[in-house]
Amino acid sequence: MAQYAKPLARLVEELTKLPGIGPKTAQRLAFFIIGGSKENAHSLASAIVGAKEKIGYCSRCFNVTDVNPCRFCVDNGRDSTVICVVEEARDIVVLERTREFKGLYHVLHGAISPMDGIGPGELRMKELMSRLTEEISEVIIATDPNVEGEATAMYLARLIKPLGIRVTRMAHGMPVGGDLEYVDEITLSKALEGRREL
């Protein structure tokens, strides 16, 4: 890094700390930033600082938010009897894009992964259980369809079912627009299992 001026070297170093950014990409981004206008650089810097300072977690659903409780939790137009449980806050964005779900959310901030030392105690499960009042009629578990996600879903079902609340899991199936011959056997068997009448 000695070949760069000190402020530029520092910028490259800081950018390298970002996920998925290697030294070469960091250099490219740094040169783009210093090649742009001063206003753009200030705007980027203030956006980073602003997001870091203003964004926190919702005290009810643990979504990332700038207001507490978050806009989903205080929205009277949403169905407050259904809670959709997701692993990460970014999963909410994906679900909202469907415009199908109108209930509330709960973010666990991870999934059970015994081999990585992540158990139920490391996730926001206690907080979810405290939200399950008589008003709640259904909990939709939308964790990832992998081993960790399935373990989390089954563990939550064991906790919630005795309360008499309906627990549902997102369906597994074939991707829209794909060819049947390229679908793997596990997905295909799950799709057959969850088939519906036309």
Partner: protein, 244 residues
């Protein structure tokens, strides 16, 4: 480049859409490889890189990590992922292989043991599968617990048999020399010898008592802890599940 059968022991996320998979293979032993794009929903490696999957894999050699290029499922072990208890037990088996076996030490015997044990867990013979797996894995790794003679004086055991984590059975005369010992009933002693020595095909005729399996579990827990330098993480989750 090499093609081999393997069982996925664990996976970790890497970057945006990649995975680092640890596979126990038949011909190369434990292999840690990168599966590029294996977290994308339409990637061909998505299902064959799920934990516990027995598949036929194609690897390319790399400088630090090999690359997993193709995977074809031989046995998905899907029921293990559909039942929380079975999943936790299967994770324990995979973690045992992962922590005890170093990369580049192939053992077809361990590979067959792992596949057969996963099948037994899958079929519901969980406790027998676990105890047999622990004993046989130790044997394959060269940590064979001595079950015929006292590990201190070499005599045959008398009426009361003790098991020491330091290597096997101990007679009542030598017992004070060892820090922790478990009393083992004669039935458990006989069962342990059979689980260690009998071939797979004969195991199915065994119908051990729950008491004997619990005795072996206590002995093996101490024995494995003694051989390992860190606690097994999957055991914590198994304990959590026992609360239900």
């Amino acid at each position: 480049m090499y093609k081999t059968d393997g069982v996925v022991l664990r996976t970790r996320n890497l970057g945006e859409a990649d995975k680092i998979v640890t596979v126990y293979t038949k011909t190369k032993g434990k292999v840690v490889a990168v599966a590029r794009g294996a977290r994308r929903i339409r990637n061909r490696l998505l299902s064959s890189t799920q934990m516990f999957t027995h598949g036929r894999y194609l690897f390319f050699d790399g400088k630090t990590l090999d690359t997993l290029c193709q995977g074809e499922i031989v046995l998905s072990f899907q029921p293990l992922r559909d039942d929380l208890d079975k999943m936790a037990y299967a994770m324990y088996l995979c973690e045992l292989v992962d922590v005890f076996v170093e990369e580049g030490e192939p053992s077809p015997e361990i590979f067959v043991l792992l596949i057969n044990s996963l099948k037994m867990v899958n079929e519901g013979q969980v406790l027998l599968a676990l105890r047999r797996f622990e004993l046989r894995l130790m044997k394959c790794l060269g940590y064979h617990p001595e079950m015929h003679h006292c590990i201190s004086c070499g005599t045959e055991p008398e009426a009361i048999i003790y098991f020491s984590k330091e290597g096997g059975i101990v007679c009542s005369h030598c017992k004070p020399q060892f820090s922790t010992t478990h009393i083992v009933s004669r039935g458990t002693w006989e069962l342990t010898k059979r689980l260690l020595d009998w071939e797979w095909s004969r195991i199915s005729i065994l119908h051990p008592s729950a008491f004997s399996l619990v005795e072996i579990e206590h002995c093996m827990r101490d024995y494995i802890d003694y051989r390992l330098d860190r606690p097994l993480r999957s055991l914590g989750f198994l304990q959590t599940l026992k609360q239900f």
